[in-house]
Assembly symmetry: C2
Homo-oligomer: 251 residues x 2
Amino acid sequence: MANTLAAGNLTFNPLYKEVKIRITRSLAAGEWKPGEALPSESRLAGQFNVSIGTVRKAIDELVAEQILVRQQGRGTFVATHTEDRTLFYFFHIVGKDGSKELPVTEFLSFHRGKAEAEDAARLGIPSGARKLRIRNLLKLGGKPVIFDDIVVPTALFPDLDQDTFVKRESTIYGLYQARYGINVIRISERLSAANAPARIAGLLDTRRNTPALVIKRVAYTYNDTPVEYRVSWVNTENHEYLSDLWKSEAR
Amino acid sequence: MANTLAAGNLTFNPLYKEVKIRITRSLAAGEWKPGEALPSESRLAGQFNVSIGTVRKAIDELVAEQILVRQQGRGTFVATHTEDRTLFYFFHIVGKDGSKELPVTEFLSFHRGKAEAEDAARLGIPSGARKLRIRNLLKLGGKPVIFDDIVVPTALFPDLDQDTFVKRESTIYGLYQARYGINVIRISERLSAANAPARIAGLLDTRRNTPALVIKRVAYTYNDTPVEYRVSWVNTENHEYLSDLWKSEAR
DNA sequence: TTCGATTTGTTCGTATGTATT
DNA sequence: TAATACATACGAACAAATCGA
């Protein structure tokens, strides 16, 4: 019997991979907005003309990637950038005593400019393309710990201005998502140690000659499209970067 | 109908979770050694008196956690500490140019001692318990980049001596696995920046006043049992620590 | 080389349980 | 309570990879 999906499947992916790709395409196209429910599994199965088990297998992978969230009895939802998600998935600085808290952001500056070589390479845009540059000071326990230097392509956030940024009601990625429909789903970070420039060291209130942790982060949306390049300077006198691969809920 | 697994399942876990726990128990007990094949899925289904789909779901999770490896047509195997697995899962230092290579280990020293407070806390052993301490210098591209200070409880590696360590034919975790049946399956790392002590800075060949990246790693085996505590000092002039959560093979 | 047995991978269908509204 | 949606579990059939006869 002719199968609508298999018919167009010239690369001979398994059906569930094709279903996953089609769901991802719909997500990227904004067909279901963050926080919204997808059609039920049985409805999707009908649309794609596959069994419900095949749809479940596709969704399983998207849930594992934190792109979708399942709730028994309610439905399957597009993941939103809540504070919890930020805290447990995107924010990796913890106290040396093990404490985990969301930082308080203190806005420093908002500038427009042109992408330099580094920005362009990380963001996959032409050198010289217009960019927005935002600097923040993040505080933990009331004290400055992180200096953030954020660069995004103006093209992705056309009408973003200082006022909009400062008055946002959520996390930064929440703003990207709610106002621009840009959903950050993955980050890649490269860490090194360096002496902070005097200006930054001053903001971080470090003792003289205290090295800083430098984090260069690229944030991606669907299909590995870069969205944001962020350089963070961290005062690690009382805090650390936690990399916990696979805190499995195994038993 | 009476089900042998459900019968003993007083915590009302789903069946596949019970199966997963029983498989994990067998792994921890060394019933199937690293590199060996587990019984086939249909055989396991028979043993546990569940359907093959239930066994598959249990194994699915263990495969996702990199504890087991499936190979179509061959079987399901206990993951081994090959160089590839080390490179892509346990070793996170890459060149700033993006190059990825396994380090060459230069042995420095092997000592016996008693666990200090820090060691004891990280390893979950009593303060003062006997420990082994091994120091290595790791080279990338022929140049020293990482200084490793490894602490393990003597109790876990009773007859491990310098000669055995130096003459190992595999990675360090491969040695733990092959000779002591201890399978490292997860690591947790905390990173900070600091000025290296002169002795270490000398080994790393850094310019004066160059800060180092400090990595404190705890390695775990089954059931979140700590096995090793390792402090690494990294020269980040030409290298970085890569934290790439979810390099998904999505598409 | 071919063939058959074995093992995992994919897909379907069905039934029942559990949580939500 | 009833309807809906996800979660678990079972079984069957066939595909694809592997390996040895």
